[in-house]
């Protein structure tokens, strides 16, 4: 564990989480959510949880984002909030 690295990523996490929820475009929100997942994957790696980081990279940043974007493409990009 490297605590400086930890604190920086954690702050970025909160920022990306807020952005993902505030962006009005759903495609953008999904992509920011992908960034969020990638950051959290870095965080796991930093904390020594390599297997969790690997899974998060494959699932969170990979498949979740892809299926979310697939849904946005087949429904709508518009969002009121």
């Amino acid at each position: 564990m490297i605590w400086q690295f930890d604190i920086i990523i954690l702050i970025f996490l909160v920022v990306t989480a807020v952005i993902a929820l505030r962006v009005k475009d759903l495609l953008g929100a999904s992509m920011v959510f992908g960034i969020y997942s990638f950051l959290i994957c870095l965080l796991w790696a930093e904390m020594g949880a390599v297997d969790v980081a690997f899974t998060e990279a494959a699932v969170g940043a990979g498949v979740s984002t892809v299926i979310m974007i697939a849904t946005v493409f087949s429904t709508t990009r518009r969002s009121k909030d």
Binding site: L10, I11, V50, S79
Partner: protein
């Protein structure tokens, strides 16, 4: 006053920073799940909520100067103190004598991160993506029949026809 603040920082904020952020992320996610109007936004909130819980668990398993929970066999003496002969790679050794324990290492448990939270969170991530996938499918079905993903517009559509 300054001392109080400084000691508060030292005792409650810095060593527990992970836990503070986990609570904040969880609150963001929960708030989005409850109040957001758009179904996809609710699901993004749900994913954030679940990662916050994962953050709690993984933070529990961290040890100050520990390595990843994989025993390395490349002569890293500071991680693993080898006992005597170290031919672990050959699988046939184990079969020839079951009871002999001396070929194994003496392992310092403080040198490895706690593996149990990692295992639990692998399961939780899998559960998270399954829920997300199924929820996205349901929201596509909702969009297919109502033509919108906004909750208030859907409820507006239901009001004249619905009797409840």
């Amino acid at each position: 006053m300054d001392i109080i603040i400084a000691s508060f920082l030292e005792d409650s904020i810095v060593p527990k920073f992970n836990y503070w952020i986990y609570v904040i992320l969880m609150m963001i996610g929960l708030y989005a799940m409850i109040t957001k109007n758009n179904l996809i936004k609710k699901l993004i909130g749900m994913a954030i909520f679940q990662t916050a819980i994962i953050l709690l668990y993984v933070s529990v398993g961290v040890k100050a100067d520990a390595n990843i929970p994989i025993i390395s066999h490349h002569g890293e003496k500071d991680h693993v103190e080898h006992a005597q002969n170290e031919n672990l790679d050959s699988a046939s050794e184990g079969s020839s004598h079951h009871g002999s324990k001396k070929e194994y290492h003496v392992i310092d448990k403080n040198k490895f991160a706690n593996p149990l939270p990692h295992v639990l969170m692998l399961t939780a991530i899998v559960v998270g993506v399954s829920t997300l996938g199924l929820a996205l499918a349901i929201s596509q079905k909702v969009h297919g029949s109502f033509g919108t993903l906004e909750e208030d517009e859907i409820l507006d559509q239901l009001r004249p026809g619905g009797h409840d």
